[in-house]
Symmetry: C2
Subunit: 278 residues, 2 copies
């Protein structure tokens, strides 16, 4: 077809990944096996690989004893954003060291052996750059790579995959200053390509199917330098963040601030509360 189009498929046959494994080699082997069945599966210039963070974590040795779960979550947490107690336990939404807002700091115990838990890669953009550079070198082609994780979101049910690491692919399409077909300024200004790619590939990767990698073909116009801005640039700045705390947490901060100001006469406490908000 000569239409604007792209195709997404899952890379099957990736073996269970262990600490220290060369993930690039595993990917190339899995792709080669698919290629034997279907020449179309051979990677090409302009392809974008989308890789579940879980296998990156495994290769990077991010496994730890599940008994240490709370300790590791605390290590990976910069601050608690919101917390809710419910019959099943406590749901804590935190900001991770990567700037991601997610439950349990991304620590996961599904799709890992019993007694083991997994934390996110130390620096997902660096992981993406290393893998992207390795694949480009070994294949002699120019492709992009995204590392995904699964996140909930406010206001809407459920989870989707988003980009937590990226290399060699444009993470946003910044249309600020652009115009529509009538020459009028576009109100939507920054399309988040990397998250749209992450979500798209979740439709073939799936959590229950054991397919950790997908290929996107047909969007080669998004492929760029390995060192282009990564997924870290998708984290909103504190100044632009209107939802820095859960409503209950912010309400409580305001309530306590008023009480403290009245008790202390205002000056010092007001400053202290402001610091807690920053």
């Amino acid at each position: 077809m000569s239409l604007p189009r792209f195709t997404v498929w899952g890379v099957t046959g990736v073996p269970e990944i262990g600490a220290g494994d060369d993930l690039v080699s595993h990917i190339l082997q899995a792709v080669a096996a698919q290629e034997a069945d279907d020449p179309e599966a051979a990677l090409r210039d302009g392809d974008i690989l989308v890789v579940t963070s879980k296998i990156v974590s495994k290769a990077e040795g991010r496994q730890f004893p599940a008994a240490d779960r709370e300790k590791v979550i605390a290590q990976d947490t910069v601050r608690v954003v919101a917390e809710r107690v419910h019959p099943g336990g406590v749901t804590q939404i935190v900001e991770t060291r990567h700037g991601l807002i997610m439950a349990a700091a991304g620590v996961d115990t599904s799709n890992v052996p019993d007694g083991i838990a997994l934390r996110l890669p130390e620096d997902p953009d660096a992981s993406a750059r290393a893998m992207c550079a390795g694949l480009r070198e070994r294949l002699g082609i120019t492709l992009g790579l995204i590392i995904t994780d699964t996140m909930g979101r406010p206001w809407r049910v459920g989870q989707t995959d988003v980009a937590i690491g990226a290399a060699g692919v444009m993470v946003t399409d910044d249309m600020r200053g652009g115009v529509d077909a009538n020459g009028r300024p576009l109100q939507v200004t920054i399309t988040v390509l990397a998250d749209e790619l992450a979500g798209a590939t979740d439709l073939v990767k799936g959590k229950a199917t054991g397919i950790p990698i997908a290929v996107v073909r047909g969007l080669g116009r998004l492929v760029t330098d390995v060192d282009a801005p990564g997924a870290r640039t998708l984290v909103r700045s504190v100044d632009d963040d209107m939802f820095r705390f859960g409503s209950a947490e912010a309400y409580r901060l305001g309530y306590e601030a008023a009480l403290a100001e009245l008790r202390d006469g205002g000056q010092t406490t007001s400053k202290r509360v402001k610091q807690r908000q920053d």
Copy 2:
């Protein structure tokens, strides 16, 4: 390829849509024109059409004079979630009558003629059902249909498309109770397929290209009854919503509640503030 895969392409040649237009006919004509160039473009059983809400609004006569913008935003707003004053004006995040949390209640002035603004469809799920049923009847095939709009989100920069209406397609994959490859409970429980489809197709639809419709082929397993639960079911319930207000707004509510309780001795005001939160 016999791999798990799908393809996405844009439907080009959709004309400018006006109030009262039969959108189903316009879609069929545009598809037929593509089909003349490429037989693959003919719609088939299991295809999912993803349609930008803008053309649905236009067909449903949701245009209004741009001068009435503030009045219409107020009409479509259930409550203000967060507000921020900045050099360019005031950004107001509101909950619309549809349960969507978005800036300006989805009112848009891009890609419409000068002096005109556009509001969201009255009932996007109903619009989706009507279009899906019409297409199924006229083509004699079973396809799904999603209506999208563009939304910002907390914590992460930029915007992506999400589903605001859906018919004939599973909007979520509910894996609660499911297990991973090791037989352990899946921690991620509800994958939001409709939003992932919406984001995926934004990669070919694009705001500046004037392509308002995309087709997804290869995910026929997600196509279901026209009357299956729609996009309205993606709106999180009040009880599950930890981010019902912006942080500044919730902080102010807490602050005022404390002052009011101290002033009034507690009982009545505490009740009033609680009502404001509900």
